[in-house]
Symmetry: C2
Subunit: 184 residues, 2 copies
């Protein structure tokens, strides 16, 4: 349900068309809450029906500019302050870790070291993004917070993966049937 609040939030900054909004998603929210064209156009319609947006202007090529309404702003504010963010529920990489015991130790280690490399690359990509968030506007301030989180998380992931690879000793393979331990 966060897509609609992301759209409301972007339109709370300033009015935009579906096309504009899509670019905003791609430029600013790509790593946090990506959205596709069908989603954006569909959601704009629903938000307008709900009275949270209005078509504030029409332009060439059928362009419709949407602006947030009072009700929309209230709903956005409610979401931002009262709805607890849901933690990510699924992790594809960890799912594999759970089954790594079915591989020979060398292959399990290789998997983990590959994940370490991926995290390291991601970390460097974020590092390269740092100059973009210079400045003192509020978007720059909060962009820096998000970036710093990314830097710390990728570093943690990288270090964990290196550590995990070292934990794997050559020895007896998979256990077989019995009760399983929980995956953190």
């Amino acid at each position: 349900m966060s897509l609609r609040h992301a759209a409301l939030g972007l339109l709370a900054e300033c009015p935009a068309s579906g096309y504009d909004l899509l670019k905003l998603f791609d430029v600013s929210l790509a790593n946090v809450w990506p959205a596709t064209q069908s989603q954006v156009y569909g959601e704009l319609g629903r938000l307008t029906d709900a009275g949270w947006l209005t078509v504030s202007a029409e332009g060439p090529r059928g362009r419709k500019e949407y602006a947030i309404t009072e009700a929309g702003l209230a709903e956005f504010h409610r979401w931002l302050t009262e709805v607890e963010p849901a933690p990510p529920r699924r992790n594809d990489m960890l799912l594999r870790v759970f089954f790594l015991g079915r591989l020979p130790p060398a292959q399990a280690r290789a998997f983990l070291l590959r994940q370490a490399r991926i995290a390291a690359e991601e970390h460097e990509n974020l590092e390269a993004l740092k100059p973009v968030t210079q400045g003192d506007g509020s978007l720059a301030v909060y962009g820096r917070l998000a970036l710093e989180r990314g830097l710390r998380m990728t570093a943690t992931q990288r270090d964990w993966a290196v550590w995990a690879a070292a934990q794997i000793t050559d020895g007896a393979p998979g256990a077989g049937c019995s009760d399983a331990a929980p995956a953190g």
Copy 2:
């Protein structure tokens, strides 16, 4: 598409009914790849149609026990070794951070400190889980890896949120319309 491979992976350990499998998901994969009853029963049917599972036994109350086939094992192995895990794409909390500039600094700080507390609690919950992963079976080994990752990630999240709260200074609020900075 990982649900089916999670099911294959669990059945690779040993045969189980839909009911058993559901409990396995709840006990062992709850934090990594949760699944509901409808999903499990539906997927078991599809996997059987695809030839990756067979009904290995039938019991009281219409119980059907599923076992993985050679083809299923091959597919599972292919997934485990050849398909790169997809990184998590969405983060509800970070989405809010992106919009935190629309709140008064005090409220933004409160949000971040609340996130710090949540991460700290999660960290402690995982810490309490540590004894469960004692032992030297492969499930214990790989369970420990996942647990350690959880511990490191929640600690990183907690520390970041505390740091981020301190970054927010009282001052000029939201910028308004112009081009946005990317959210890391």
